[in-house]
Each structure stands twice: as C-alpha cells, then as structure tokens.
Amino acid sequence: MNDAAVAELVGVLGAPRVRTGPGELALYRRDASTMEGHAGVVCFPISTDEVRRCMEVAVRHRLAVTARGSGTGLAGGAVPLDEAMVVSTSKMDRILSVDVANRRAWVEPGVLNLDLSRAVAVHGLNFAPDPSSQQVCSLGGNVANNSGGPHCLSEGVTSVHVLALEVVLPDATVVMLGGEDPEPRGYDLRGAFVGSEGMCGIATKICVRLTPEPPVVATALIDFDDVRDGAATVSGVIAAGVVPAALEMMDRLCLQAVEAYIHANLPVDAACALLVEVVGLPAAVEHDMDVCRSIAEGHGARHVRIAADPAERALLWKGRKSAFGAIARIKPNYYLHDTVVPRRRLPDVLDQVYEIVARHDLLVLNVFHAGDGNLHPLLLFDKREPGVMERVEAAGREIVTASVAAGGVLSGEHGIGLEKRELMPLMFDEASLAAQGALRSAFDVEGLSNPHKVLPSPAGCGDVQGLAAGVWI
C-alpha cells in the first residue's frame, strides 16, 4: 500500500481508524464466501464527509475501493481485490430519524437489519427484508446486494423498501438518489444503485420504508410424501390468488437435521414440509389459511400443523432458521447456492439438483423460499477430503446452469460478486452485458469502485490478474 495515501487517510480519520497491520488486513480479505483477496488498508469513517474525503484520497492515488458492511455476503462482493482500500461502514450505525406516521426512517449504512426492526417495533413497524443473517448483516450491505429473505414473498426485496440514498460517488461527489417524495425527477438512480454490489459508490444515508405489523398472523407446517406435491401446493396457492407472507420449503434431510438439533417434533419421515405464514386482518387470514390447507390436502398433504400460539410459531420458525447450525451434525462444511426458477419448475429442478449432487458424490439439503421459486441448495462436504472442492464447484455450476435453462436466473438474493460473474453470459448476451457496463461506468468513470465484480472480464483479458494467489472462484 502506498505510504502517502495511508498518511493522507490518517490525516482524515486519525490513526486509530486507519488500519494496516497484517492481522487486521487478513481479517478483511474475505466475506462469508470461500473467496479471498488482499486489503491494502482498512478505514473506519463515521460520517458522510469522512467517506467523501477517503474517496478523495483514493481518487488522488488511483486506489481501488471496496465498501464493506458486516461481511456476511456469500458471493465475494466485499472481497477486496487490487489491494483495495476497504471502507468499513460498521461505525456509521445510527438510526437518524423515524417518521412513524408516514412509516419511514433515515439510517446510516452500518445499522444492522434486525436492530432497525427492533428499534421501530414499539411503533408496530418493521423493516420487511429479513435475510437469514439479519442479526448481523448491515442495511448498507442489504442495499448493495438488494437482499431478500422469507418475508420478501409478499413484501418485496430491499429495492422496494428503499426510498432515497445519500451516496458518495467514486469521484468523491455526494449526491442524493431518489427522494422522500414519490416521483423525484430524473432517472431512478436509487433503483440503479440498489443491488450494484459496491460498484457505483458508497451509500452513507438510507431512507427506508417501514412496514406495519399485521394484526393477525397464522403459521402452519404442512408435510408431504412427495416433494412434487409440496411444490404443486406452492403453485396452487399463488394461482388461487393467495400470496402468503412467507412460503418456505424444507426437504427430508433438512427436517431430520433440524429435528435432531432443536427437537420441535418435525415430521422427519416426510419428503418435504412447507412453512406457510399468512397475515392480515382476521377474516382474510382465516380465508387464506383455509385456501392453503385445502390446496395442500388436494395435493396429498399428510398433516397440517397450525401453530396454536406465538411460542409454537416461534418454534416452527426456529426450525426454518436453524438449518445452517443443524447441518454441522452431518458434515463440517457447506456451500450455499442461490438460484431462482419459475415456481412451476420447482419439482423438475429439484429432481435435477438431487441427481447432480448424487453424481458428484455429495450430500444436499434444501431449505428455501419456495413461494418465489428461490432455491437454496446446501451442498454438504468435508473439505479435508482430497478433491472435494472441485466436485462442489462442478456441482454448483451444474445447478446454476440447470436453473437458468429452466427459465430461471443466476441469483435471487446473494448477488453475483466474484462467485457468478463468469456465469453472467448464461443470462445475458454481449449487448446486454455492455448495457450493464454502461451503467457502471457512468457512476464510476475510472472503474475503481469494487473492481472486477459482477461483470465478466472481457474475453482474453486474463481475469485472474485481479485475484490474489490462492483465490478460487
């Protein structure tokens, strides 16, 4: 790292908030994926102006910049390449204002997702996107990845819940994208920024929509002898005009692993189970749950277990959310995938997932957002086995390819990052990728904001040059 640049950063932030020690740099070389890069320096600004001045240093010294929230990303989006200056937003963690009547809040990017919902719960409000990592992931990271979660089926993903963004652009100018008003003039640059994975600048203030807590909640666990029946129930419920707040599926291996872990009396002999939640006013909730039940029974449901009280509801959700902890009982390592297919193709694609994984001599556990067709196959393995990583990678690539071939997409909520950028041509031809590049280069003329992510490297350009030794993708 350029000593002059570090000295200037110390001038902006003070030495305690500019870290260059080898141990600290090592901490910031990766996110929650398996990929690693190299951080050149790690900065901890606490204000928009400090972020802007850090960006000025980067511009002056032509440093790559990688913004980082909590580092829970699964696609390598926050992995620093080109010895990037890592800008951690973790110390910008204030909830700035809450407008209860109009249901919105201004927050800093380091506020944790669940902390916002907890802070506004007293007003009967919540922040709807609820990724599994919501206890630790930051709202800035949610914006960068356009994060989802189980309750995004009816409420929509992060983009729907972001009204305005104060952004420090890669050229160190500060702009407001979107607005508190409903129809700000100009292009929807707010929408273009959300999900841009740190490649269009750094959000320093975020105005989010808050969602009212429903007056009535009903949660049911419905199990089936055949995964196809569970999947057909999902399509049937949607076609019947009912959009549950959440509609999650767990397959047999998942049910068994979770039951051994939390003892919730789950149907461990079922092929799959659906966790269904409907919310709203009392008559609507009763109607919607009746529809879900009768469609499920029409598809051979074995049991419909409706949570009798909030404690049982919490237990059923704990089962859904404990899958990641439970799998440690089966294998020490996992690789979590994320694709979306049309709901009607779920049975076929799940069959393909089981076949692909068996052929590569791996185990798979499925626990996913069935309501919006968002698959999350968890490949289980022991990385000490020689050659296993190659099999995990090959199986993953086949799963993604099968999903896209079924009319699906590369990612539903984790993003592209480094993990899937070379798979982008499965969905987009050259002109379509060029259009995404045109958006990126309008925000970042010099290409220094989180370089080498999302967009595949031009053919023949030796894309490994940006990656540190030992990186695998």
Partner: protein, 304 residues
Amino acid sequence: MRRRAGVGSGRVDLSDFAGTVGSADPVTIEGAGTRGGAVPGVRAVRAPSGIEWIQPDEMTLSCRASTPVEDVDAALAEHGQRIAVPPTGTIGGALAVGRSGLRRLGYGPVRDVLLQARYVSAAGDVVTAGGPTVKNVSGFDLCRLLVGSHGTLGFLGDMILRTRPRPTFEQWYHLATDRFADPADILSRLYRPDAVLWNGSEFWVLLSGAPADVETTAAALELIPVAGPPDVSGRHRWSLPPSALGTLAGDFVAEVGVGVVHHRERPATRPPDAGLKALTQRIKANFDPTGRLNPGVSVLADGS
C-alpha cells in the same frame, strides 16, 4: 459456454423492431399519445403490440410494449389478477413515463412491476434487462433505470411484468373530519388501505380484502361508502414528501402516505443538483452517445 439460454425462447422476435429503430438517425417512439406522445418532427417508430403469455401461478405476464393497458387488465381479470399500472395508453408508455395510479399506497410504484425488459438500444441492438422470475439479483438492475426514462436510454420492445391478485371485494369510502391533526395520522387506523386521498377537509379511502374485515374497519372510522374517488384529471401533479402534505393550501387532492398531489396550481420548480445532473448526463451519453433516441427529451425537465 452457451451465449444465450432459453430465457427468450418462445417470445417474439424483436429484430424487425430493432431494424426499424436503426442505429444512425434521430428517432422517436410513439404509443397511444396519452402521456405526451412522440417528439414532433422526428421519425417516429411504434413498438410491437400484443400479450405473449400469462402465467397465473407465477403471477407474471409477458407483453409487447404497444399493448394497451386496458387489454392487459381485461386479460388478467380472467385469471383474478391485475397489474399496478395506471389505466389508459400503452404498457410501454406507462413504464417509460413511470407515473403511478391512485392505488400506489397499496399497490406500490410502477417501477416495481417490471421484471424483465427487452429494448432496442441506440446502437440498434436488442438488449435484455432483468430476468423472468419474480425475484432476481443477477447483475445491475437496469429495469429500474428504464422505468421513467422517457425513451431516452432505449425503446422498450417487450417485457415481463409482475401481476398481483385482483381483490374480490373493494370499496371507496368518504369521511369528512378534522379529527386528524396531520392527514397521515389516519393511516394508523387503517390496515393497508389501497388509497387514502385528502383535500384538506375530506378523505376518500379505498379498502379491499375480505368483506367482513373491510366492513369492520369502515364501521370503526364511520366511513361512508361512495361510488369512487374525486376526479383528479386536468390537475397538475406535484411530488412532495408525505410528511409535507399537512401544510398544503389551495385546491388539491393529495395521496396520503405517498405524496403525489393533484393540484390546480403548477408545482414549484427546483433546479436539479449539479452532481445529479452530471451523473444523469453521463448515463445518457453512455446509453445514447449521439443523442438520437427521443431527441430533446430531458428527464430532469420540470414535469407538471
């Protein structure tokens, strides 16, 4: 690696439309002319029309840009669904302008409807933005950029849209009251209304859902059923933070919780921020270097 998967298979070939748009001369796009229409004096093209498919169990629909909004609404009604796009004109025009209808409070903005678009770029290429599924974070979100871009970045050819259940029961209500200090205070008494309009002394509320729930809500607030909302046609359109509605004066109908105001007076003009203007110009230059698409149209110009 395969260059192009089956995402577009079974959908209309847009190469004729791309050929008509061309790649050299100035060109404008016309629809039904209900939202301002094409640029006068410039060669005009028209996008293809027609619904390609409806998938009720996916809650998605694919149509070409010149399809009338009414046709889409009628076709979806047969499946008990509808779309959060305001009536009149074409789907392409509604998306290109990006303005929402009176149900925005319940249905959300038009920008969230677009899942995938295929458009013809300034270079005459057919470009795919977004993906066919209801959830997708594969690459940059060009669909959001296209909605409201007034045909300045590309001409929409066809699109996949998100549909929503059509309520089996909905009712407009009226309430004349001064009991709420701020109009937004009424929102705490209503669970997810589809619309709340306010003119300074009266409210109009659109509720939908199970009839028993709607009636309970209406009774609690002493709402009076009415045939529909006030006519807001012919008024100017303001965009205000919803927290600012309480200070409005004059002859207006405001969308509470949203901030769209239908006013007799013109909105105040605000100069755009310099940084935002520069970024907007870079985007336009990158997508349309010679400025051939809808020449003269500026997305930063004041609306009304």
